[in-house]
Assembly symmetry: C2
Homo-oligomer: 696 residues x 2
Amino acid sequence: MSPLVTSENRDGTPESPIVKRILIGDPLASENADEHLLPKRMALPIFASDALSSVAYAPQEMLMILLTGGLAFLAFAPWVAAAVVLLLVVVVLSYRQLIRAYPSGGGDYEVARKNLGEVPGVIVASALLVDYVLTVAVSTASGVDNIISAIPALNKWRVELAVVCVLGIVVMNLRGVREASRAFAIPTYVFIGSVGVMVVTGLVRTFLGVAPVASSAQYALHAQSISQAAVLLLVLRAFSSGCSALTGVEAVSNGVQAFRRPKIGNARTTLAAMGGIAATMFVGLVALALISRVQYAENPCDLAGFDCHGTPQPSLMAQLAAATFGMNSIPFFIVQAATACVLLLAANTAFNGFPLLGAVLARDGYAPKALNTRGDRLVYSNGMIVLGVAATVVLVIYRANLSNLIQLYIIGVFVSFSLGQIGMIRHWIRGLRRIRELPDDARAQESARRQSRSYRKGLAINSVGATLTVTVLVIVTITKFTHGAWLVFLAIPILSTLMMGVYRYYRDVEHETRMDDTVHFGSAGDIALVLVNRLQKPVAKALDYALAARHEKTLAVHVAVTKEESKSLQKAWQEHGMPVPLVTIESPFRSYAGPVIAFIKQYREEHGSSVVTVYLPQYIVGHWWERVLHNRRARRMAQQLMLVHGVTITLVPWLLDSSELIYGRRSRPVPGQTRAGFPTTPQLPYDHEPRRGNRP
Amino acid sequence: MSPLVTSENRDGTPESPIVKRILIGDPLASENADEHLLPKRMALPIFASDALSSVAYAPQEMLMILLTGGLAFLAFAPWVAAAVVLLLVVVVLSYRQLIRAYPSGGGDYEVARKNLGEVPGVIVASALLVDYVLTVAVSTASGVDNIISAIPALNKWRVELAVVCVLGIVVMNLRGVREASRAFAIPTYVFIGSVGVMVVTGLVRTFLGVAPVASSAQYALHAQSISQAAVLLLVLRAFSSGCSALTGVEAVSNGVQAFRRPKIGNARTTLAAMGGIAATMFVGLVALALISRVQYAENPCDLAGFDCHGTPQPSLMAQLAAATFGMNSIPFFIVQAATACVLLLAANTAFNGFPLLGAVLARDGYAPKALNTRGDRLVYSNGMIVLGVAATVVLVIYRANLSNLIQLYIIGVFVSFSLGQIGMIRHWIRGLRRIRELPDDARAQESARRQSRSYRKGLAINSVGATLTVTVLVIVTITKFTHGAWLVFLAIPILSTLMMGVYRYYRDVEHETRMDDTVHFGSAGDIALVLVNRLQKPVAKALDYALAARHEKTLAVHVAVTKEESKSLQKAWQEHGMPVPLVTIESPFRSYAGPVIAFIKQYREEHGSSVVTVYLPQYIVGHWWERVLHNRRARRMAQQLMLVHGVTITLVPWLLDSSELIYGRRSRPVPGQTRAGFPTTPQLPYDHEPRRGNRP
């Protein structure tokens, strides 16, 4: 019996414990769900912060890979960046189609499952779940990296800082969507604004001939010697890392239901705005990095002259801000603070998407039903907790190292991108086929023609999208597999198999418990056994309630482990004139359940089949520590007796005085006196005989 | 519902799960307890290994303290060693008196409680508990130190090694006393023998003029400059550390009940033998260390010439064995292996003493009753687990560093020594007073005279013991307090307060639940509510059992969170012609318990006071992971409904097919068909009306 259980008020409003209430806020009724919908200006920071924040690390990781080949490779940078932007545009356009066709919030998962079947759907779901975890990990790691770039003294607390950030986000999200978005809108806009100002300032300075110069420009970079064949691979690797700028685009399509009406229109507009802003920032940052000659090394010790053991390597964003505005200037700190904030917001995006997807999966039977339980604050608490724990584990294992984490990233995104796009192609083709199968007159109508045009447009866009995303998936797989991405290729099938297993399990249980013609009623025979250890008030209460339920027969049963106990009980039983016969069973093995089970079997052999109700008095306590002081015998008894055919367990609670502190009541007055405020008339002692025979 | 519960056979023998059975062994009946008693030759290694193993570290720690003052201080070593041996002899003699007077196994705790009162008893108990934990920690740390001295490559796994050792000991002890002692007898005797051979060999070599020389003799020791006043303090500190040789003497007095008959005689003989062996070994090792000029530094870097960063400092035992037999010779490894084994056996001693003391405390109401529950193997499993966890925590916190741990040690031992001895003085004085108050003729009898003599002897011995142990306690406190022992002085009062609190708690609960004149029977009114979510077989079973119990009124109650659910349930209810009326309650807050509680209150207002039995169908599963897939709604409902006045919970188990794998049965055949092998006659549908009125 947990004393931490949530008690409830008379009207059925759950009454939260104080700590929970402070952290999470008051519970909300179902009808209030609509008020929590997001206007566009709020939805943008929530759902777009993932994609926007990617520009904080995508340029850095892209340039870092190019620089492993040497400074000369920076010549490829504009072309790689252009390819990334092109891909971004195509993906955004593709997702605008997806939102239009599937606004229910299942995103790629729903598209793949409805159009391609169960297995692709589950694969997409697994890929997305993995990626949500990695989004939290990567964004937090990058956010912490930017904090450390501004305050290098924090370097030794990198992992701890990351874990604290994740915990903070979990708590914030458990408080609910609206509060989260309000707090989150400002830093996203500050991030967009400050990066914009930084890029413009940098470009203006360049035109004025005082181009910013990064602090790392002074170091001589140790470059690997690269063979002719490896050049292409290096460029493709840089492109793969640059593609991390695309992560989070799908967040909007998974969150359409959180938008204010018209949901679809608002979601599509938000998606377009997000794509435009992200592309502009990405291009601007890469340009500024090239102008200020930033050098960012995979291993900081490759930078000759850099104190790689003493100082953390500043992030690209920090180097640009320092070069543009001056190190430790106020704008520098604004850029760093905004970048860190928006990266943590991106982690927050996953806390919106993951529980929604988890709930959709639970609804469809692929995930534990507990994920579809709305928490007190209308959000899916269990999913958030799972995500928080998983991300924390990943961060701790990878010591919050961004460059290692990024190797695992975006595989999942492109798996779901690709399957989603292929599913959309199927969707449009089906739609067109449906129109073609219409009777001629219906097909000739304007509405059908308009629909057909719209379907064709969708088909065209998603075909381009599918081609590109599949190509990129192949590139990403080739270039990242040996750098750690194999882990993701291990995780996705494992998760998929688990989901299929869960589905099959629920199906089997459903089948097993389905009502059918074999079910009929009429169990006969009924005996109540009240378990007695010592004669105390809780036992008296259980006896009283057993008598009140008027079973055919009521017996008190004592399991005698020591003879002294049993003798003193029999004495007390006579002294107090207990109205029920006491049966004593010997227990040589100090076991409690075993002898009772043997007794039940023997009783049935003598008296015939019967339903046996075992009454167990149970203490209810006011403090968690009191549980340590009561042994769990009653609970273990219940667990073992429940395995016996035809046995049910009746728990008769006895609220100790201490429970009053928490639940506001205790088991007073003593049994049989008054109940629920009504006095009961005292009765004669029970006559031991089955009622049935006694009544006239 | 835990699927890990132990099922039971028909005859009441608990049937352990396979894993548990392999690790812990089969359960034993109470009658077999006698067969597990120990003969002296087995009891010596079990109860004496603590005291004997102390000689593995006591000389080292004693010499280490003296050496902090410089080589010249070694001149004090023989005198300090002599003082330690004298103290050991006195304490052994004192404990032989204690065993005679209090053979029940409570040791110093019982003596203090019976003679000095509750508070001293509880203080002794706390001191002993703390010391059991430290015995495990110190012995394991020293054992691991000796393993590392033989295999220096293991140095970086020091803490992990220590934790693994503790875990191994816990598992071995959970298997029971006899198996433990058998495995443990050999290394103890090998230890005594090999150390004996080593000392004799060393002395013989010295007489032959080829005295052994320790490897550390070559290093120049950086000594602190010591003021005149500090000399005494240093000598006293060395004495304090040397006193760690006395730890474990009390183990025998706490374990008298585990000895074979005559328990008292055997225990006293064992204690004397142990004292003699320990004293001899201690003297021999100190002598050999002085002869071979071993240098052992608190901080290994104080040894000029020693690679203090690269190599672990070898233990004194390892240095002596290497000097006597040659480094990495076979006898060297035998000595090291035996030393490590016997130190781990010493840790094992605590696993005999701690649970026994815990059980005694639980019996007296000072500790949670769960500590007095004999486990499957006739030993006190809960106490062992508590001790294992506590020792592991201490080892991890102190990084298994012997010299730091030893600072916390022996305070507790001397607290209990002192209070025990004082208690014994009181005991003898009381005995003498009793004899003096006898009538003259009885007093003159031979038996009384003999008793009086024996009491006087006891009084004399324990008075000397008390004087010495109190003196040593003062010395130990002064010299160790600032070196970490303050922690123990914090822990003892905290533990004592907790124990007093537990005692008061049990007393209050006892008072609260005691039968008295206010208890009378005759609760009236009786209604059964069967909670229904969807119409499935488990619900049908619950309904059937509720009907079989013939409550005055039986209602099916559905908490409607969504309208669709509720409609489809009502449809199914009619289709299957369920024999009980269905009540639907709206729940706007997605709460389940709240609306049911409100319904109960409303029902009582309309129909008067009643005992309400809530039927909850409950799944029982076969695998732990299945629990994740079923939401805990039924359990949470039960927890909340049990807080309502006059409500009892009846759990109707439904064993899923998977449970067959573990429990050998499932909820087949369907409800109402057969039960316990007896066919039931099908009956007409239930008539909804209270039975009472219907019967003629």
